[in-house]
Symmetry: C2
């Protein structure tokens, strides 16, 4: 069983600070996990992830299975060694890819058939196959195979979807428990609560998974297009059902605001491509909201992207230089903006954790939300 | 006057080891200068350039003039500060751009009119304007405005071209001597020997420039498509005319082989986009020749790009991981390959310098050329 301890609980909300122990190190929560779908957090070096205090990164089972392939990963003794990443890794199972590759897959009760967008080859992923591949990849935390329903979805569709998802979760757990890690460290299995925006479906999904006793619980099927309020309501509802003593992971979320709202509702773990994707598109996160660094107002601006940020970008470069790099299409712009955005998210989690442990989460959240909503007025010019 | 000292001369060839002193630090020669045309060495961070011991980098006057513009550069106190680079910088004048932008420029005796490929605006660069802009950019070493003749070129064209180039060089020198640096450090002016492949033209150009006493001398108009032997012959011929006590810079060159051959013929300084451009195209330099890291033979290869290389890439990552990164189009692949290739060139210069000081340049060169020509046989599969 994954060792997870909540060390501080906010008295006014469900926010909590804790840590979990993996064989690749301790993860302090709340935690933001940078996404390295194909074995690289886009445009950021592994040593830079260490430097910015990324505690754990994500990989994607479906993508890594295709390339580099489990044969290469096994030759290297797993993904940590293949990508030279010493800290924990979590692999998503590919459930979200079932949603997003809807033209290239066929669902059946037994699993999902993917048609590779690379060479047209088909792969059939059963729940058992998923666990087998996740053993071969060797992440510390692995996710069950699930179906992530689209938004909006009819209740009848969602009902069938969570039945399928539950059935797959049980089969994943069975295979997980009757198999061993291939490498010299433990792996832990998380269940994924689905149910769309229907609270009774969410209740059923959560209760069934809790009964099966997973190492942790993810909430899937949110941040798929629904209003933020609906995401918060579902999150709040589900965390009330999940056990206090297990980590809770809100998949694919989100903005800094989303993170603070979800932490208030009892979430411990997050992942999102937003910091790197937005970084590559010149969208920079700051404590005063997001800015478009290509904006002409920054032509002469000597200040860093974000005052007080301790990242390499902010400690060395001006907004004017970043703007220039994007203007002339230099790759270094993507690198520096991605690096900063990731550090911004990680730092936000560190500050949030501190606020929780010091009993001032509510004030911290309120101050931050006010500032984050202040889009820079100078950009209006 | 730029302080330049030759500290060791090879007794069997014209190879030499020396150093030059700028206000941003000492440059040990022979030196390879990474190219940062627009104020960034492509896909490599400034701290990585420091780490790999890049002693000096290049910028381009014409490109930097357009973007970020001299107003932004002046606001920051020059290019060093704008790009956060503490060591020396050299700016090329734009002479090579006159060649490569042939549809977008008009030559006249008084200078060159560029039509911007960005917005169609026209800029007229006289020799005086070039020096003025190079003062505003603030590189430690600045180049005169020249015309780089195409290859092949009629002798009559080349004759007129070197007349123009000489006239411009004198006007650059005049303006340089009657103006002051804008920032708190010295700048030095290099002349550029032209003359195409005609030795009598090269002789005339070199002698006229030497008579005018520049801080250093570049050889331009080579590596423009001529056979390597012709490049070596012209280089050998020109360095025999250039003064022993001034640094010699072979512009835009070249492969590792080219560098060793040119050092043998008395060259001290090089720049080339090859390490970064090839790196972005999966072409990796190794002591055994270049390899295409996308090659399927590397799928399981645990060794680094280059045994004994001390760069971040080689100390942490396998060929298999690099191959994977290029295969899945991850930006990190470009970063890691560019970084390695640059370190390879810089290390080659460091080793060459050591060999010169230890009196074994000829043996060192011969061993290296033999190995460099060994394209990896395994790649043939």
């Amino acid at each position: 069983m994954l060792e997870f301890k909540v060390i501080n609980r906010d008295t006014r909300t469900k926010a909590r600070a804790g840590f979990m122990q993996t064989d690749h190190g301790t993860i302090k929560t709340p935690v933001f996990m940078p996404v390295g779908t194909r074995g690289s957090v886009k445009a950021v070096e592994q040593r830079e992830l260490l430097e910015m205090n990324a505690q754990i990164i994500l990989g994607n089972t479906y993508h890594l299975f295709q390339r580099p392939g489990v044969d290469a990963l096994q030759k290297f003794g797993g993904m940590h060694s293949f990508i030279s990443w010493p800290r924990p890794i979590l692999t998503d199972s590919g459930g979200f890819q079932i949603l997003s590759l809807s033209d290239l897959r066929k669902l059946s009760p037994d699993g999902v058939e993917f048609r590779s967008h690379l060479d047209g080859a088909t792969y059939f992923f059963t729940p058992e196959k998923t666990i087998e591949v996740e053993r071969q990849i060797g992440a510390d935390i692995i996710m069950v195979l699930d179906e992530c329903a689209p938004y909006p979805a009819e209740k009848e569709y969602v009902s069938k979807s969570i039945e399928l998802t539950h059935n797959w979760a049980m089969r994943c757990k069975e295979r997980f428990e009757t198999s061993q890690p291939l490498y010299n460290y433990n792996q832990y299995l998380f269940g994924i609560v689905q149910g769309g925006m229907y609270l009774d479906m969410r209740e059923r999904s959560a209760k069934e998974l809790v009964a099966a006793d997973f190492d942790g619980y993810a909430i899937g099927g949110l941040a798929v297009g629904e209003p933020a309020e609906e995401m918060y309501n579902v999150t709040d509802f589900v965390t009330a059902i999940l056990p206090e003593e297990k980590p809770r992971y809100l998949m694919g979320v989100g903005t800094p605001e989303n993170l603070l709202e979800a932490i208030e509702r009892g979430i411990d773990m997050f992942d999102c491509v937003m910091p790197t994707r937005n970084g590559r598109n010149a969208q920079v996160f700051t404590t005063e909201g997001t800015i478009n660094i290509k904006n002409a107002v920054y032509k002469f601006e000597e200040s860093p992207l974000c005052a007080n940020c301790d990242c390499y970008t902010c400690k060395n470069f001006s907004k004017a230089y970043l703007r220039h790099l994007f203007n002339v299409d230099e790759i270094l712009g993507l690198q520096l903006a991605s690096l900063h955005n990731l550090r911004f998210f990680i730092n936000l989690m560190e500050q949030t954790r501190l606020a929780i442990t010091e009993g001032r989460f509510v004030e911290f959240k309120s101050e931050n939300l006010t500032r984050l909503k202040n889009k820079k007025i100078m950009e209006e010019f």
